[in-house]
Symmetry: C2
Amino acid sequence: MPVPCHDHSMPRVSQDHLEARRRQILDGSRACFARFGYEGATVRRLEEATGLSRGAIFHHFKDKESLFLALAEDEAARMADVVAEQGLVQVMRKLLEKPDDPGSAMPGADWLGTRLEVSRRLRTDADFRLRWAERSEQLTAATRARLQWQRAAGNLREDVDIDVLTSYLELFLEGLVSHLAMGLPADDLGPVLDVVEESVRRHRAQ
Amino acid sequence: MPVPCHDHSMPRVSQDHLEARRRQILDGSRACFARFGYEGATVRRLEEATGLSRGAIFHHFKDKESLFLALAEDEAARMADVVAEQGLVQVMRKLLEKPDDPGSAMPGADWLGTRLEVSRRLRTDADFRLRWAERSEQLTAATRARLQWQRAAGNLREDVDIDVLTSYLELFLEGLVSHLAMGLPADDLGPVLDVVEESVRRHRAQ
């Protein structure tokens, strides 16, 4: 069945309208990439998920790759906001608690799906790795800033560099994401996150 | 170009010979799966990597899926041996130190490749998940046994369950594997593993 041809031209619209449309595309395509993966998220499926024509979608994003990068960047920014306010361990706790509550403040399952696609493509696609490198620093920066704030408040252990603790938390998050992605049981991981949280805090005598 | 047809019949051979041939296939196919991934490890490539005909290969393993499962199980057993002797953190250290030294006692890069293929297929293939579930317990069992031994020796913290510490170490390993698989820098992760190791040990007053 031939796909109908859409008009690529767009009327001149306000900045607000452009931003709202861009948001509509990101929100719609997020679940689509999470469900079908990058390759499986066909243009047809992206049209269905966003309720917009390919012409409208690719007016805002040069191509599927650019859309996915914008989405991943958007998710990283949202996650960085949560980290800045509540810390990376709290992000992990929320991943466990509400993996797919659409009303949650956390991106939840969709974020997990996007993050997994990023991880997978970083492993398999050298071009993507280059394009993503410059955009992936947000979560690290937010985590580091939060730890510096905690150290200044006297809540952080003093004997380990902030950069080491940042890498420690990020590696643990990566493991948790991979674990959840494999569909492995996550009911009992709360006490595990307690160990993680405690290990970056100021030590007290036992 | 037609692929030559190989004779599937095999002469009656000794158990030692069967085992040696099985080992040859596992050793040869390991690098092939690691390099090309499960789907990319075609029968032709497996023939090249093992130096054996498809007839010989599939005399020992019913199909490619069975070969891959046997390989993953074999790697898990080798890794469990290292865990039993040296602990899971040491396994992680060796992953950092010698990612691709062929003479190393550690499976190294090949093991990483196999483990990644397992992780990926667990995420994307429900049938594989079922078949793998019963075989994936070795590393967990070895880790738990090692921790029990350490607790008996008085080296382990007393305030957290062995199962929680086991999950903690396994999640961290998963994160490390994923990190390495993405080709991200690993030069500075030694001090991070120090934090991991210390956090399962008996706490001492600071």
